[in-house]
């Protein structure tokens, strides 16, 4: 799944297992330099895209919708929601795409951060402090869970993370109900706005457009920060070791590195992202329930978004989050002339698309587009690029 970013097919880096501190530091290898430039470009381009994105999603699609008579414009909260899930899946992909570990328990970190932020808001209703509080709790929870789960690999890792997540879910529903509100959920969460409540989160930045709310700006900043951090990690020597772990764990071990420590770190880092996302989610939705926060289907949704978007690149999974949330929130409300209301069919369609993507494009939507782009302007440029990309990742 991992290690098939086009950068390492150029020439200089022989393979993931032989990365040394020196090479990773960037002193040699035009491939690495090229990679870094590309990824800085990704962050800048994303910043630009974030400005246009809500306008396209709400206003433009709204107008198009009016013309064709089907409401396909998103509601004002949708861009923020997409970015919140984007933050989570960037972190999730560090674990799944780069380190090669499939966790089915990330809802635990998402949910615990959401609940912590919600509880914290009852004391200090500051959105930034809520995010910090939620993230700290998620991180503290990730350490013991990771410490135990990382000891096993493959299915067992997936099952262990799943069991811990489910244990937490049932705790929140039953014995922990005094804290979490149990099946009633936790409502009445109100963040007072930025800068000690001076700027309310639902205020509009530009009066004419519905798309740009303070919440969206806030989420964009956090999302860009997350992307930048993710970018720093995968381009650091540390991140290259994650990638090497995804390719061949034994090789990393033989080089003399402490595999356990790196895997645990990758797990915790991804949980931090999930924690930030969980806290942001609760600020956005102002409501949290064990089923939305902690149930294993939520972890499954992270998996779907990540794989749908593409595990081979940093930004890829965000596309998955966009598709997922758009389908879940907008397409599900669309009523087509022939078929009628889509309603709850959306999950069926999503499942089918997901199976198709796993089957045919193991590198997801982003990978498919990257292949397409390479095919269009390729020919002369990337000689070794295409076969490596088409193969869709290593097979063992």
């Amino acid at each position: 799944m991992s290690g098939d970013r086009s950068g390492d097919t150029n020439e200089a880096v022989p393979d993931g297992g032989t990365v040394t501190e020196e090479a990773a530091g960037g002193s040699g290898g035009s491939a690495l330099a090229g990679l870094r430039e590309r990824d800085d470009f990704v962050v800048i381009a994303t910043a630009a895209a974030l400005v246009v994105f809500p306008f396209l999603l709400i206003d433009v699609l709204g107008v198009v919708g009016e013309v064709i008579g089907i409401s396909i414009g998103g509601y004002t909260g949708l861009p923020s929601l997409v970015l919140i899930y984007g933050i989570i899946v960037i972190g999730f992909n560090l674990l799944l795409g780069y380190t090669g570990l499939l966790s089915f328990g990330h809802a635990a970190f998402f949910g615990s951060a959401a609940y912590s932020a919600a509880l914290f808001s009852q004391v200090v209703p500051s959105p930034i402090l809520m995010v910090i509080a939620g993230t700290i709790v998620a991180t503290l929870l990730a350490w013991p869970i990771g410490f135990v789960s990382i000891r096993r690999s493959g299915v067992y890792f997936a099952v262990l993370t799943l069991t811990f997540g489910q244990a937490l879910y049932f705790w929140a529903l039953g014995p922990g109900a005094w804290l979490t509100g149990g099946d009633n959920g936790f409502s009445g969460i109100e963040a007072h706005g930025l800068f000690v409540g001076v700027i309310p989160l639902d205020a509009q930045l530009i009066p004419v457009f519905d798309s740009y709310t303070v919440m969206y700006a806030f989420t964009s900043v956090v999302m860009l920060a997350a992307l930048w951090v993710g970018n720093r990690i995968i381009n650091s020597p540390y991140g290259l070791i994650f990638e090497a772990l995804g390719e061949n764990e034994e090789r990393v071990e033989f080089v003399g590195l402490n595999v356990f420590r790196y895997k645990l770190m990758a797990f915790i880092i991804s949980a931090v992202f999930a924690g930030v996302g969980g806290a942001m989610f609760v600020i956005h939705e102002q409501y949290i329930h064990p089923t939305t926060g902690l149930y294993w289907i939520q972890s499954g949704d992270f998996v779907i978004m990540t794989v749908l978007g593409g595990t081979g690149s940093l930004i890829g999974p965000v596309f998955g989050a966009l598709v997922f949330e758009y389908v879940a929130n907008v397409i599900s409300g669309v009523s087509l002339p022939m078929i009628g209301s889509i309603g709850s069919l959306w999950r069926f369609v999503l499942g089918a698309v997901f199976v198709f993507i796993v089957w045919v494009f193991p590198r997801g939507i982003y990978g498919a587009f990257a292949d397409l782009a390479a095919m269009v302007n390729g020919r002369g440029g990337g000689d070794g690029d295409k076969p490596a990309a088409a193969d869709g990742g290593e097979r063992e």
Binding site: R152, V155, Q166, W296, S344, A352, F354, W359
Partner: protein, 317 residues
């Protein structure tokens, strides 16, 4: 201090729940052991089994069903459930064959994460199909009230236990007959020999010239039939809704083989019974903690005895 009768009823309920876990676990474990294929759609087969049972039961047993409309008004006994007992495993077997051919086979050589992902997607599709075709509402369990004229809806008095629903007793018996037959088939037949050998080292089996690919389909189909059968058993004692596939089948099945040891039939039976007794004991005492204790027990088991009760640590890693 628990009363003697409480302990006895905990054990009996545990036996019944454990039988369902064991049926699911056996199917999952022989597929995982022989083909090293991780089937996250195993719970979907349970779901299909439960709903097929439900439909067969209603169409054949009620006074306005399919059989009734074609002129057959009585089978001489309450035949719906017996018909389901025959139809459901056959349906499961057929679906298993199709799944092996069209879903599993293209993924044997792909990384295990891809296998998990594609079967996870498949499970979603099945669950959503059921929701959209049959509806998301919950159905009552489908226990018949009489079998061959014998009333099974009344509880009977057992020594030690006291009153216990006689239908559940019958279900335990039926489940254990099926478990026993499966166990014998794997321990005593040529087919079982191939399965066992494949669990140990499928590469070697292929090198020896045994047509393991044909056995693959059969193993998959048998596993699927067992899961569907478990769904029928489950549907006869618990309500049926589209969520049961993951909640009551997939996750417990995984927990079962983790406790029992991946690839081991004996382990799946033992693991299923252990988990069944734990959950029934917790349900009768501190029901709020039942699920939590179950999950924590499995986590503890993985830490202390990672290879499970009867398994080898290599399978599924």
């Amino acid at each position: 201090m628990l009363l003697q009768s409480e302990i006895a009823s905990i054990l009996l309920n545990g036996l019944q729940q454990g039988a369902i876990y064991a049926l699911l676990g056996i199917g999952l474990t022989i597929i995982l052991g022989t083909m090293e294929f991780l089937n996250l759609a195993h719970g979907a087969l349970y779901l299909v089994g439960a709903y097929t049972g439900l439909i067969v039961f209603q169409e054949t047993a009620l006074s306005n069903g399919l059989l009734y409309s074609s002129g057959i008004t009585t089978l001489g006994f309450e035949g719906g459930f017996l018909a389901a007992l025959i139809v459901v495993p056959i349906v499961g077997f057929g679906i298993g064959l199709l799944m092996e051919r069209f879903v599993a086979e293209p993924f044997y050589d792909r990384p295990e994460t891809d296998q998990l992902l594609v079967t996870f997607g498949l499970a979603l599709i099945v669950e959503e199909t059921v929701k959209n075709v049959i509806g998301g509402n919950t159905f009552q369990s489908i226990a018949p009230s009489t079998i061959f004229g014998v009333n099974v809806s009344q509880p009977i008095s057992l020594p030690l236990v006291g009153l216990f629903p006689s239908w559940r007793l019958l279900i335990i018996a039926i489940a254990f007959v099926v478990i026993g037959l499966t166990y014998l088939a794997i321990e005593r037949t040529d087919f079982g020999l191939v399965v066992q050998a494949g669990t140990h080292d499928s590469e070697m089996v292929r090198i020896l010239g045994i047509p393991i690919n044909r056995s693959y389909s059969l193993v998959f189909a048998v596993g699927a039939a067992l899961a569907a059968f478990a769904g029928l058993i489950g549907a006869s004692i618990q309500t049926v809704s589209p969520q049961i596939g993951t909640e009551r089948a997939l996750i417990p099945a995984f927990l079962t083989i983790v406790v029992g040891g991946a690839g081991s039939v004996r382990g799946a039976i033992a693991g299923g019974l252990v988990l069944g007794v734990i959950i029934s004991a917790m349900t009768q005492t501190y029901s709020q903690w039942a699920q939590i204790v179950l999950y924590l027990f499995v986590a503890l088991m993985l830490i202390v005895k990672p290879e499970g009760l009867f398994g080898s640590a290599e399978v599924g890693e």
